[in-house]
Amino acid sequence: MKDKTLKKEETSMSQEEIFDGLRNAVVNYDDEGAKRLAKEAIDKGVDPLKAIQEGLVKGINQVGEKFGAKEIFLSELMIAAEACLAGMDILKPQIKAEIRANVKPLGKVVMGTVYGDIHFIGKNLVAMMLEANGFEVHDIGEDQPAEAFVKKAKEVGADIVGASALTTTTRLEQEKIVKAFREKGLKTKIIIGGAVVDPAWAETVGADGYAKNLQDAVNLAKQLMK
């Protein structure tokens, strides 16, 4: 009943109201709302790329600022990012083929948590933020051996591989990943992150970069694509 009422209200929404609605859906962790408004945008002929940029991305940036100011916490940031991606999943396929051809992703990224390590929060957040910032992200999940990173990177033609490790005992796997790529002559840039990782470790293992936090990861990925 509630949905029907909302639907009725949404049919009379202006483009600006749809953008506001998408932004608010992200800010309010409302993935269903984001999906519904994304569909509404399509039904009303709103430019899907504009809906992403003016609605969803603005929303996630607003949430990111709140997170930076410690007004909200990781769980909230993650659920907001999920809402953002839920809307994107509907809007992205609607971007016309010719526009898609001109709006190439900033780069292709394979993300994963290393073998023996099942921590996911940092990895998921970086993946979501990269995607929200225009990268094509392939998340291979947690507890993944070096070969899985190589396989996926080859399959999708990745520009960047992001390997996360949270524990002292699993960060060794990052070195294995770098070695596996280099031994196969792959030029894919490899960035590493996680609680026990620092610039010195990145240098030791021969990674192309290290990201301390979410913003660092996005900036580093953009930098590596130049």
Partner: protein, 395 residues
């Protein structure tokens, strides 16, 4: 003083003299790193861990205790039931090592068990996701089983604890481990579904956490009955993953129940929270409110400051120096594994001085996180010898 007396003195039961020396996750870090296994197992095959051969595992523990001489026995936890142990045998062949189920009357089947890789492995908790099954409070009651302490004991799941207590209990502090209820509940649901529940269905998550706490308390009762001395509880959701309000309403009451249950049974409850430190003092203060017997923070990382002197300062400001014991947190990678001997010596001395002088000996020396597989046996013994040397009562 025995190791046990030293640790109990650090918990306020007796006069602290020598600073106790322990290693967190000693079984995990040491048994799972093959080079450590070779140091302690004296030729026993690696699969005795998988087979839960208690007699042989006791011999390994005895060698480890003799060679390292630490003051506690880590990992007095539940083991597979007596029935399971009777009906499972390890079959090594040229191709692989198999675990074979020989339950009478049942079809014989087997699966391959893997040898730890040369560089060692970290504990990989299974990624369980029951979020598709557990949708209501009734589902929580139905699927989250609370196994009574008496049943755990009757089925022989406490046999390993009993064996450790019998063998080492007079000399060493026997430490059992439980999964903190908030952490355990989230493990049931899987990582992302749990995060969603915090935001979208906190009532269901709270029910799950409370139910999990019921199960954990039964384990605590079983450990106490077997004669363990303390509980170790690691909690992941204490950092800035969730909001303080979420922690206060969903996690804290259940954790507090576990702490009280242990304390009422005479067990020391050592809390190992992640993600709290100088940068997240509110989280640390919230943990202090629960008054566990001991707090162990990981080492400082990436500018996240958990320095011992800061901890001491916070506890003294709150007047908790006679109630909560602190644990050392020497950096397991940058100091123990990679630091120079001088780095190691000065950090050990610094932490012991803080613990003994500024915190009046309510202090147990430890590393911040598990010893890494890359750490050599020689380096480990150097660390332990330095702790013994500097931790001995000044004459």
């Amino acid at each position: 003083m025995t190791g046990k007396e030293k640790i109990l003195a650090a918990f306020g039961e007796g006069s602290p003299e020598d600073i106790p020396s322990v290693l967190n996750y000693a079984n995990l870090a040491l048994w799972r790193g093959p080079h450590f296994w070779n140091d302690f197992a004296e030729g026993k095959p690696w699969w005795i861990k998988d087979a839960w051969d208690i007699a042989k595992l006791l011999e390994v523990e005895e060698t480890m205790q003799r060679k390292l001489d630490i003051d506690w026995v880590w990992g007095a936890t539940l083991c597979p039931s007596r029935e399971w142990r009777k009906n499972h045998i390890v079959v090594p062949t040229a191709r692989a090592v198999y675990m074979r189920d020989i339950t009478p009357g049942a079809e014989v089947w087997q699966y391959i068990i893997e040898e730890p890789p040369p560089e060692g492995i970290h504990s990989a908790y299974p990624n369980v996701d029951l979020s598709a099954i557990i949708k209501t409070k009734e589902d929580v009651e139905k699927y989250v089983y609370v196994e009574k302490a008496e049943k755990l004991i009757e089925e022989g799941k406490t046999d390993w604890v009993e064996a450790l207590v019998k063998k080492f209990g007079n000399e060493k502090f026997i430490l059992s481990e439980i999964e903190s209820p908030l952490e355990a509940a989230c493990d049931f649901m899987g990582p992302m579904p749990s995060i969603r529940l915090f935001i979208k269905n906190p009532t269901l998550l709270k029910k799950l956490v409370d139910r999990t706490a019921d199960a954990v308390i039964e384990q605590i009762k079983a450990y106490a009955k077997m004669g363990a001395d303390g509980m170790w509880a690691w909690e992941w959701y204490t950092g800035e993953i969730i909001s303080p309000a979420q922690f206060e309403s969903i996690g804290k009451p259940a954790i507090q129940r576990c702490i009280r249950a242990a304390q009422q049974l005479g067990l020391k409850y050592i809390f190992y929270p992640t993600g709290v430190g100088k940068d997240w003092q509110a989280g640390f203060e919230s943990i202090l409110d629960m008054k566990p017997d001991g707090i162990h923070l990981e080492e400082s990382k990436k500018g996240f400051d958990t320095d011992l002197s800061w901890q001491v300062n916070v506890l003294k400001t709150r007047g908790l120096e006679d109630e909560i014991t602190l644990f050392g947190n020497v950096d397991a990678v940058n100091i123990v594994q990679e630091g120079t001997s001088e780095d190691l010596k000065s950090e050990i001395r610094r932490q012991i001085d803080i613990g003994r002088d500024e915190y009046r000996g309510r202090f147990v020396m430890d590393v911040g996180s598990p010893i890494t597989p890359e750490t050599s046996f020689e380096r480990l013994t150097e660390y332990i010898n330095l702790v013994r040397k500097h931790g001995t009562k000044r004459q």
